[in-house]
């Protein structure tokens, strides 16, 4: 391992960094026969970069040579940049040496397409195979190359913990505009293949305990946000569809960073749309863990997420008649819909109210954040005005601009009726 490797590392890490996925979770691979490594099902971060992202895996490209010319990609064929290629041994050595020092959870390997998809995929599979041959049981995430043969995808799944195929652009016409060599079919087919294999493998492992695993941490994909005029409804509908039909573990959203600003097909952005990316992740969470349907989060009337407030608050303000809910009686699913109350808080409320009826102080003590929630709940002795009295605009104003609660409506509603009023 010499200076040459160091130079390659710089080039091929720089080329890989725009892939946002870095999860090491979902796999439960034990350390076989006193070898090296295992995987933690909950995932472990080992460091954090200055952009606030977690480093869990060593993220590398096997090569940044590429026959494709996708407009959004830093490694596109027509870019004049330093190019390099790792050998199989170099990647395996780096991974193992970093792993032994507890720098990483494993390897994330992607690649530019050289010669043809099969040739590229075959080399990636060889890296994974080499690592497993050295009795390395840490995490491996392989990027599947669209268009590679099913035999190679199958082999990849035998060695890797997770496979992924990136869609990048949410609608097909826009994908074709920016990446003329790609289409939805070439991406969705491998996804379908991987899904079927995973289901098959689960069935097999139920029957034969020692059947080899196939991509135990499932598969994921990535969508680039803001490179095309696709709205949030397009993006989330596609994501929701993928979760349902392809059993994806994760869809990653990556705010577009203009790497090829000379290309006039791309928008000129001042800065990456980080806020929008964040809102999309929140919406994604609502869909996966909070029992929301995509249609409740974005629809034809609201095709884009509100950037000022989170999607759950936005949903609540659009549907004020569903609130306030009684924290001591409401079901788990209903409590989850209260803005500001997460899965953990909701579970804690359910447990704690078995012992006694909860008041506002109990809620605070068990760690429920009431800043937003208090306008949407009632509980024992909560005298704060709720969304009913303040109206959605009122709550929005208080939360966003720190306006004082306007109680004009509140007061008139509760005015004592006059017995002798004549009207």
């Amino acid at each position: 391992m010499k200076e040459e490797t160091a130079n390659k590392l710089k080039i091929l890490v720089g080329a890989a960094k725009y892939d946002v996925s870095c999860a090491s979770s979902g796999s439960n691979r034990p350390n076989k026969g006193k070898g090296l490594g295992n995987t933690a099902p909950w995932g472990i971060c080992h460091s954090f970069t200055e952009d606030g992202r977690c480093i869990s895996l060593i993220k590398l490209m096997l090569t940044n040579y590429c026959i494709y010319d996708c407009a959004y990609c830093a490694n596109r064929n027509s870019n004049d940049i330093p190019r390099s290629t790792f050998t199989v041994k170099e990647v395996a050595d780096l991974t193992i040496e970093f792993y032994r020092r507890n720098y990483i959870e494993g390897l994330f390997l992607s690649s530019g397409v050289i010669k043809n998809p099969d040739y590229t995929m075959e080399r990636m599979v060889r890296v994974a195979k080499e690592l497993r041959n050295r009795n390395y049981n840490g995490y491996i995430h392989l990027k599947s190359i669209p268009g590679a043969s099913e035999e190679l995808q199958q082999l990849a799944g035998m060695y890797a913990d997770r496979l992924s195929v990136n869609i990048e652009i949410a609608t097909e016409p826009n994908l074709k505009m920016l990446a003329p060599e790609k289409n939805f079919k070439s991406i969705l087919n491998p996804m379908k293949f991987i899904r079927n294999k995973i289901i098959e493998n689960k069935e097999e492992r139920r029957k034969f305990k020692h059947a080899p695993r196939f991509s135990p941490a499932g598969q994921s994909t990535q969508l680039i946000i803001g490179a095309t005029p696709d709205n949030d409804k397009h993006i989330l509908t596609l994501a929701g569809g993928l979760y349902n039909s392809k059993n994806l573990k994760r869809v990653y959203y990556s705010g577009f960073i203009p790497v090829n600003d000379y290309d006039k097909r791309l928008p000129a952005l001042q800065e990456p749309p980080l806020k929008r990316e964040n809102r999309l992740y929140q919406a994604d969470w609502l869909f996966r863990f909070y029992g929301f349907s995509i249609n409740e989060i974005v629809n034809d009337d609201h095709p884009d997420l509100d950037l000022e407030i989170d999607p759950k608050l936005s949903y609540a303000l659009r549907n004020p008649w569903l609130f306030p809910i009684d924290i001591n009686k409401a079901s788990y699913e209903t409590i989850l819909r209260v803005p500001g109350i997460g899965v953990l808080s909701a579970k804690k409320i359910l447990l704690a109210r078995r012992y006694k009826s909860l008041d506002i102080n109990n809620l605070k003590k068990i760690g429920v954040v009431l800043k937003r929630a208090k306008y949407f709940i009632t509980c024992k002795e909560l005298k704060e005005p709720t969304i009913n009295e303040l109206k959605p605009e009122g709550v929005r104003g208080i939360l966003l601009h720190h306006e004082k609660p306007k109680l004009s409506n509140y007061v008139t509603q509760h005015k004592q009726l006059s017995l002798f009023s004549t009207n």
Partner: protein, 262 residues
């Protein structure tokens, strides 16, 4: 005032609680012999650790609640916080006196407090697992120092033993001056103060470092700098996830370790 004095071990503390319950005395204070300052007017009870008494109380707790609660109590003990002994006494008393399982009654102060302390200990344990950095030495031992806020190294041992089963390693707690050594067969507690390790930064001195060690530290630092996306800079989140107190152990945060490239 009733003061119980024990030997600072977990078994000792549970023996103390057993005796307090047996004597039907409510302790005002439980302190370790090490931190005990004599008090003229107090009634002093010196407790001798007794394994049978420990087991008796431990089994009662286990029967009344779950395995998780036992873990929670033990981990809270490792926080070494002030008055943790009294909190554990109150918590165990509550478990024994209540006919039902109080494990998740978060509206009770003792339950909430103990759960929160355990959570902090759990988080610190996780951070050891995340941020420990091994340095390879000439005799092929992977060495790491750490300075955890709580006494959590014991909680990480099974993780490291499972993961790094084919390499010898040492994890040393610089604050409490003890550590663990895995020799490919078993893990042993070690207390040797090695002059070849800088006690502050945890760095192994150059003459006993493996020839390849500096290279991999540099490669890792280079990786760390390259994977960062400058356009997305977010130092607030960065600092929140990677507090400064860990930096001295992280080669990627070591500014003297700059990559020199031709």
């Amino acid at each position: 005032m009733n003061i119980f004095i024990y030997d600072q071990t977990f078994e000792g503390l549970l023996t103390t609680i057993y005796e307090a319950i047996e004597l039907k005395v409510r302790p005002d204070k439980i302190v370790s012999a090490k931190s005990f300052q004599d008090d003229l007017f107090a009634i002093k009870n010196y407790v001798t650790t007794d394994h049978a008494k420990f087991e008796s109380i431990w089994n009662q707790v286990n029967k009344k609640t779950t395995q998780q609660v036992c873990q929670r109590i033990f981990q809270a003990f490792l926080s070494e916080g002030p008055d943790i002994e009294m909190l554990i006494y109150n918590y165990i008393k509550l478990i024994i006196d209540t006919p039902y399982n109080i494990e998740v009654n978060f509206s009770d102060n003792f339950v909430l407090k103990l759960t929160n302390i355990q959570k902090k200990v759990g988080r610190e344990t996780q951070r050891v697992i995340m941020f420990v950095r091994f340095q390879k030495t000439i005799d092929d031992i992977y060495y790491a120092s750490f300075d955890p806020k709580y006494n959590v190294i014991p909680l990480t041992i099974s993780h490291f033993r499972n993961r790094f089963a084919d390499q010898k390693w040492v994890i040393f707690d610089t604050r409490r001056k003890y550590g663990y050594y895995y020799d490919l067969n078993e893990v042993r507690e070690v207390t040797i103060g090695n002059q070849k390790v800088n006690n502050n930064s945890g760095k192994v001195e150059n003459d006993i470092l493996h020839v390849s060690e500096k290279l991999f530290q540099k490669l890792w630092k280079s990786y760390y700098d390259t994977i960062n996306i400058k356009e997305r800079k977010n130092l607030k989140v960065h600092m929140q996830f990677l507090p400064k107190r860990f930096w001295k152990f992280l080669p990627e945060k070591d500014f003297k370790n700059k990559m020199v490239l031709s």
